[in-house]
Amino acid sequence: MDIDIGFVAITAVTLACIYGTLAIGVSITWSSLGLINMSYGFTFATSGYGAWLVSEYISSSGPVVILGGILTGALVGVLVCAVAFIPIHDKPNFTVRGLIASLALSLIGTQALLYFFGPQSKTLPPLFGDWELELGEVVLTADKGGAILTSILMLTLALWWMRSSRRGLEIRAMMMNPHAASLVGIGVRRTGFYVMALTGGLAGLASVLLSQTYFVSPFSGVTPLIKGLSVALCGGLGSVGGAMIAAVMIGVNEALTADILGGQYILITQFLLIILVLIIRPRGIAGILDKQREA
């Protein structure tokens, strides 16, 4: 048995980039708002439809479609924040209720998508043109190369924004200690909107990038949601670095499994890996303790 190392590496990197984009969104939402955003899949599916609408009615050029997806994602994120975070974030039992509220939202949202767009899946136009890059023996297709480049670019932009801007400072303060952040005058609700818009935008980006694999359909969000959640879980909720490491791990695992064992074993090996990581480190690779989030 010979493993095509170049192909595996490129697939792994592509997957790692996309999963990282998803997982960082989940992770940031959890650590700054204390909300497990189960409607991430809904955001994902809706931004796919947003991008599709943009490509149908406005322009089918790559950047415009990507922008459309990101904007739709951010919009849905704001909507989720307004419905599932703002009314209950100061109520007792918020974590469970927030989880259930976001699940309810995703139920409503996917059924609404089904109602309006029907069950047929839509396809987006090729976003990155049609080119190939040969790196030695390995061929980097436009699809993968574009996905890698765009997601790295957008992630870098988002993280840079979080590091250097005033809003990013607020979000990072909320991630460290929401109670203390509100004491020094950081508005919890306002920051909630920023966070949800940012993470929604990331989900939108991932949705557009993954649209070649998972076609745009009402239920296309489930698998990415599970992947994003499990990568975030594996990396430790609340840690961007951990999420990146986990994304690389999961990506490598997925590419290797697909190459060696076959596609249908991907989820099995993936969960075995995650359970293994969680049994060794119950809070994930770099997870913060729950005690820190309390208050």
Binding site: L105, Y115, P282
Partner: protein
Amino acid sequence: MANLWKNPIANWGVKEEVDNAPTIPWTSPIKPWIETVKAKQKLYKVGRLRYYYKFPGHGARTWHRWRYPFTRRRILNIRGEYNAKSLRREKTILDRRPVYWVLSFLAMLMAPLFMPVSFESTLLNAGAVFFIYAAINLCWTLVIGTAGIFSLASMAIVGAGAYGAAYLSLTHGLPWWSLPMVGSVIGLVFGILIALPATRLEGFYYALLTLGLVELCRVYVIQSRTFGSATGGVYGADSYLPDGISELSELTISYYVCFVVMLVVLFMFRFIQGKRLGRILRMAPEKREAFAEATGVNYRWARIQVFIITSVVLGALGGVYASHFHGASPSLFSMDAVLLGLAMLVIGGIGRSEGAVFGTLVVVIIDKVFIEWGPLRLILIGLIMLLVVLFLKGGVFGIKQQFRAWRNKKKSENRSTRAEKGGEMLPEEATETHDKDQIFMRRFDKMQRDYLKTLVTEEIIEEHKRSPLGQHSEPLERLLTYFRRQPQSDKYAIVAIELYKSYRIIAMSGQRGVPPRVVEDKIYTSETEAYHAVFMRRVQDLLES
């Protein structure tokens, strides 16, 4: 008020009494009274008074209680008491839930008799589905609510049991009665496997992991050839229905079979929730585990026990499912199944058996009876779930408690904002006072003084100056009555230094053996003048208070 003051003793023939005395316009005392006794906050008709029917109890019946056979446990929580007024013996059912349960069981038993003929098959089908899902949700609410393990894998265990049982029945020809047993063995294995990470992981890590497991099961089942990737499920499991009966009697039989299944699971729920395990787990709710551990409660082991017991039951339910639906389909593992199940739990209230059953009823009615609505009915369920989560703390059956808590909060807020101090007792003082009559006396006194202040006018003072004694107009009479009624301490009196020549105002000490004190040096030359001076002092004190 009328400008004429009728003298009540004029008719008695007292000499020099006038029939009436003219008065100036004045406000009636009933107005401030009505204003005072009126509730300051909005009163709600719901839940104002707890109403309990009082059953009579007499003689031997006084102490009679129904008990479960061979135990001392009572079926109904009845309090016996004597009516304080009539001294009759009375009994009150404090917890009426068993009564409601029995009534709803009766309704479920009788329901097939009253179904409209055109909808009968739909309704019977929905009823059977309702019973099966209610049984599943009872187990699930035990895991999430009682054991506090946020597992989303309950439907996955049912699905595993159903798939395993259907597969074995199909390949080995197992009879229908063995399917629940096969299912429970599968459930046990699955439960142990899923419970293992629960010892290490907490809260949401576990929820997300179980969600992942559900997805894993779904993908596996869809892709696996043995489990019917081509046919969309495993079909052809042995059914518990006898051959060769009409469709309607088939539906009726399955309705009652599923009803019995739900009853069995309800008993299981009661035996876990109401006995030792349930007590241990209620001792250790979320965020108070450390306390439970410190008191020697091994809550982890109790949680795992509950989880494994419910997994066995869920697996058995999977067997029943396979037998009922003649097989299993991948939709058992779908995200929508998890979501609908969670909606059922949430609508009724997590951790309550009645909540699980009621929520299932609501969701099944919307989902199975209004099929022609298409995706809209799932949107409706989602909306109900969302609203319940946003506004209710413990689902529909938590409304009562939540309303009471809210009302008590409002009450105490109103009590604490009423800080106006005019001789009245503040809440802290009132709780400290032994004689509670004082609270009301002082409240009434304050109201009365506020009212009397409005009566003091130039005309009244003039009238008193004219004739301090004798019949007065009504406002003046009310003022004087109030002044006379005051307690002895610091009450003004007139002392005659020299009769008809000099008078002086003194104030009583109110204590036996302590002499009165002189209030002022001024000497009044006549009794009338002194009377009026005392009146003026009292009016001044009133206005200053």
